[in-house]
Point group: C2
Chain length 286, copies 2
């Protein structure tokens, strides 16, 4: 038996504007996950504030810097219960606002990821992320974070894998996608599963549920293994739920070797991809 | 009603080494698809020769240059029935061997795509593709081709979309992937669906069936729309079958605009992706 790490995704329903209540609910659910031996815990996007701000002013009033009380509460829990936590929060940095994820270890805040690809009205509220796609080398594995619409960009997953990530943690607030009503999986699930497989990484995506100011969210949190298949979930479309999976983190690297000839990251043909993917060269899609 | 194009994927079972028989079977199935009003027809990888060569010598003896009888037969059919055809064949070019796809219009061969990412023992038989990811601007739409293991590389799909492709045609010989036995979709299906959605393109993947020299193939051909969902298939895991879908080709471009702020190709953050994706910069995944 290979050693395993219990990964948990906490799906719940934040209430817009009620930071104290949201952080306390997240804390209670983190404690519960710790009681189930979870060591790496993922929480939804913007889970301390809620998502549908009525404008930049509301978001600014609710946002915190990284030394604020939300991060303080989560880091105290991580220290107390020996946890790694990846959680979405509303970040203020001077006069800039970011849709961010905190990456927290038992000995404190390791760093943050700022959502790179903003969705819809987020463009009114937030600055675009400016930190690239950092990978954090923790005691439980090499961890990266993506947030919601970032999952639509295969470049982002690939950059995490190329930098050594074994687990992509996805705080998210997925909204309904077209023509998905009667499908067994959400399209966001399919994007996560394909990315897990094509990069040989674990993907732990924690979504929220509920409807906020007319905006519905779809739940269906998942944990996928490096073969792409689901280890846990999809969670409920409507109700809070915590997913657990026992992950052999080394499998992410080990299973990249597919046969005597193929290793899925080494097989990339960067020589042929050229500069179009990572440059501002004019595309011809319009 | 928007005008639609009937796309067909022909799934069948080539027999190793019997080129005359395989091409005649492909021709009969192309005629049948034309009778069903198909205008863009995709056939499997290496469908004129079969797949599991016993060595480079056997492949070389069966391979043809682009002016050989296989392409001649398909181009004659395309002219006779007003078809566009994308079909996998074993290509010889001097002393080089490629796992290629012919892109054929009613007025002749438009060009070829050579498989970029070789799978397993193909490395013994074939040269790696050296033509990049060409997009052909045809009367029925802008068409690109990927072959089998190419689908594992999100870079390839993205480069087709960035160059204007509306349809990715995938001649393939999918083999079983780990832990897939009891899943409702093949992992290759999930990769195609995610790529269709994330790039807003149609994906038409024509697989083969049967077991050749102990190598099983999985069928499950599909046609996915630009929303990622299946328009046809998955086809049988074991039997020949032709899939049809009526595709509004303009929808590929039209549906890239997701809301007032987002267009999925325009939202790429090439400034942050940097040079790692398209260069030989050392990754840190090992």
């Amino acid at each position: 038996m290979k050693p395993t790490l219990t990964v948990a995704c906490i799906q719940f329903e934040p209430k817009i504007g009620d930071v104290a209540r949201n952080v306390e609910e997240s804390a209670a659910r983190i404690e519960e996950a710790a009681d189930h031996d979870a060591k790496l815990i993922v929480l939804p996007e913007l889970c301390n504030t809620g998502y549908v701000f009525d404008g930049r002013g509301e978001a600014l009033a609710l946002a915190e810097e990284t030394d604020g009380p939300t991060i303080a509460r989560w880091t105290a829990l991580a220290a107390d219960r020996d946890l790694h936590i990846v959680a979405g929060f509303c970040e203020k940095d001077g006069d800039a606002l970011y849709n961010s994820a905190a990456i927290i270890a038992p000995d404190g805040l390791l760093g943050i990821y700022r959502k790179t690809h903003l969705w819809d009205e987020e463009a009114v509220i937030f600055e675009r992320g400016d930190l690239g796609f950092p990978v954090f080398r923790t005691a439980v594995g090499r961890i990266g974070a993506l947030i919601c619409y970032d999952c639509w960009f295969p470049e982002a997953w690939r950059l995490l894998a190329l930098q050594g990530a074994e687990v992509a943690c996805v705080p998210t607030n997925w909204v309904p996608m077209p023509n998905s009503e009667h499908q067994p999986l959400a399209m966001s699930n399919i994007l996560c599963m394909g990315a897990a497989h094509a990069n040989s990484i674990f993907v732990a995506a924690a979504d929220r549920v509920g409807t906020e100011r007319q905006q519905p969210f779809i739940g269906q949190s998942i944990i996928a293994g490096p073969d792409g298949w689901l280890m846990a979930g999809p969670a409920s479309k409507t109700d809070p739920e915590t997913l657990y999976a026992a992950c052999d983190i080394g499998a992410a690297r080990r299973s990249r070797t597919l046969n005597a000839f193929n290793q899925v990251l080494r097989d990339r043909r960067a020589d042929l991809y050229g500069e179009m993917l990572g440059s501002d060269a004019e595309p011809s899609w319009y």
